[in-house]
Symmetry: C2
Subunit: 418 residues, 2 copies
Amino acid sequence: MTNRAFYENLDAIDPLSPLRSEFHLPPDTIYLDGNSLGIMPLAAPIRAKQVMLQEWGDDLIASWNKADWINLPMRLGNKIAPLIGAGQDETVVCDSTSLNLYKVLYSAIQIARKRHPARRKIVSEKTNFPTDLYIAQSLCAQFDMSLELVDGEAIDSIINDDLAVLLLTHVNYRSGAIYDMAQITSQAHAHNALVIWDLCHSAGSIPVDLCGCQADFAVGCTYKFLNGGPGSPAFVWVHPQHVDQITQPLTGWMGHATPFAFETDYQPAAGIRSYLCGTPSILAMSVLESSLDVFLKAQGYGGMPAIYKKAQTLTSLFIQLAEKECAGFGLSLVSPRDPEKRASQVSLSHPEGAYAIIQALIAQGVVGDYREPGVLRFGFTPLYLRYTDVWDAVMQLKSVLQGEAWRSDTFSAKQTVT
Amino acid sequence: MTNRAFYENLDAIDPLSPLRSEFHLPPDTIYLDGNSLGIMPLAAPIRAKQVMLQEWGDDLIASWNKADWINLPMRLGNKIAPLIGAGQDETVVCDSTSLNLYKVLYSAIQIARKRHPARRKIVSEKTNFPTDLYIAQSLCAQFDMSLELVDGEAIDSIINDDLAVLLLTHVNYRSGAIYDMAQITSQAHAHNALVIWDLCHSAGSIPVDLCGCQADFAVGCTYKFLNGGPGSPAFVWVHPQHVDQITQPLTGWMGHATPFAFETDYQPAAGIRSYLCGTPSILAMSVLESSLDVFLKAQGYGGMPAIYKKAQTLTSLFIQLAEKECAGFGLSLVSPRDPEKRASQVSLSHPEGAYAIIQALIAQGVVGDYREPGVLRFGFTPLYLRYTDVWDAVMQLKSVLQGEAWRSDTFSAKQTVT
């Protein structure tokens, strides 16, 4: 693995390599930020043009029926389902992860309080993605629940008969560490607690089996590994045993049983459709559909197991090569070393220069990103990355570290969005 | 007004006529449904292509800074502001009308309860758009408030010292009737009650002066008269005296004071930015911006006053001509006859055939729509409609009514979306 030919050979025998041609690859760039914003599928601008010119431009309002706009949220949900182990008509695409989390956590709290009125504890992890914590704080304040944040290693210890709801992100956004969904869900259920899984960094990245794990609720975004475009709509899944038990609170007309009856009283639709709220962006939904279709095509190449297997190899090679080539420059591994515990991401830390090193690396055409505090993140997306990208990226990282340019003001001045 | 030449002459002297060339006009169609889904501006697909190919495709994650994606919600809010009489940085574009209504009604309830803990009454109108009522029902259940629905004419009578929050849609979606925002707001304030205005059928249709009326809260959509595209994002406005008084409950990371500090605790941004929640669709936002820019251009042609003046003439002519040409066919006027009380819409009823008549009319190339119960709606959008469209539309309506085809099963079978 100490020469480029080794990586060229891996590319030559990579069964997923044909899928790279489905994407618009950014010029002169090794893009290791698909865990933040996925690359555009080539079908996406074609679909966008069709929606704009034909469906909106020519057909206008008739497209709600003619182009079946009205069923986009459910149709897309069913295209995400095989990626997350959901059954038919159990997933719907709408709104943002934050909003969908509000819906499911609200529902979970109501169910938990029916089961055990005295339980007040919602637990999450200290380094969970902040928006999850912010939404949980809002609902805890509303319902007199207490939010306890613990270290990731301490999750086991808080699963007991005090726990009402456990809210975890399946793959940590900073480290790429994976929680054991089956084990944690089972442990929580043994204490009759509910579990919500945020799949933002799992969906399209690693195999997920919501039904197999008997999870209670899940949400996730589509603009990272699912390549749906900047701010593309999110998804929500609710276990069939819960979905009709509680009316989620964001009761917009699209979640009504008969929206076009224009009834005065809210009557939720049966099933996951009741998690819809207002009128969704048809353009954003349609573009996302073209991205999800790439994953349907990927099923012919081994699907999520094959995708994750390649990601494990990519990340393992990156770690090994970076530790060898960049030894002595102060980098440390933040992600789990065990590939079974690591999703499609490698995070490194640097005691003084993480932000500036990333900026200098981006200037050399290798795009990773920075997360507070002091983390360099590199996402590995098997649909469009090559093994040679690992080699080339590490060589660029080494060249940045060997130089002094990253210490200049040019690279240390923080931008609005990091 | 009894011959086409009269309308041709009005078109010839119409000061707004140059703006028609800003739009992609659907082929062989007179489109009278801009109150449901506005026509596509020609700039919209060009902007969409730029976002897709350059900002997402080539520049990817860098576009959050480079293309200033991060400030789209506030920038677009400031482009809507002059259309609704809002001050600088008081409006933000995000989410859907339903979601924004949830935010502002939640805030209004908290403020009302601080002022008068005993007041429990939220009032709205029976024929308000259902999503507003559904959201109000959800929040009333959560906060032990009571929702009272009254006839539009009875609003005056319920404004008293029992009233906590009045929730009204400024222009009724079925009839096009306008409430007197200044008078009602002032009357409610005299009793120390709060007023929320839904501007879905006002924004881009009639002049609105939120600041002049000292309104408390407002929400609205952008896909009707603002032509933002199917399901384009909504807007929310909060009076500066209220905006920092309450934290709205949908506390996603985009509403945080410092989202990229990734702090554990939610700290709302100052001002209306705190009404943001999750990551918005950049594509949907960008396309909307190109639509709002047409309204900026329209300011050079007299702006909203000129637009509404033309709408009043269009709707008045339609009513007069339809009543003359289609007399004896059972149509009745649902909209107010007084043009000062009517927005850019004419609604008619028919005792037995409203739905089928609209379908038959659509088949002849005149697109209106149907709303329960028994209403034919016709929207008049001065930016792209001509006076001759009024003449031609009425002639087609007359031809449908004179025939028997509308009585066939072809036109009476209801579609999913009406």
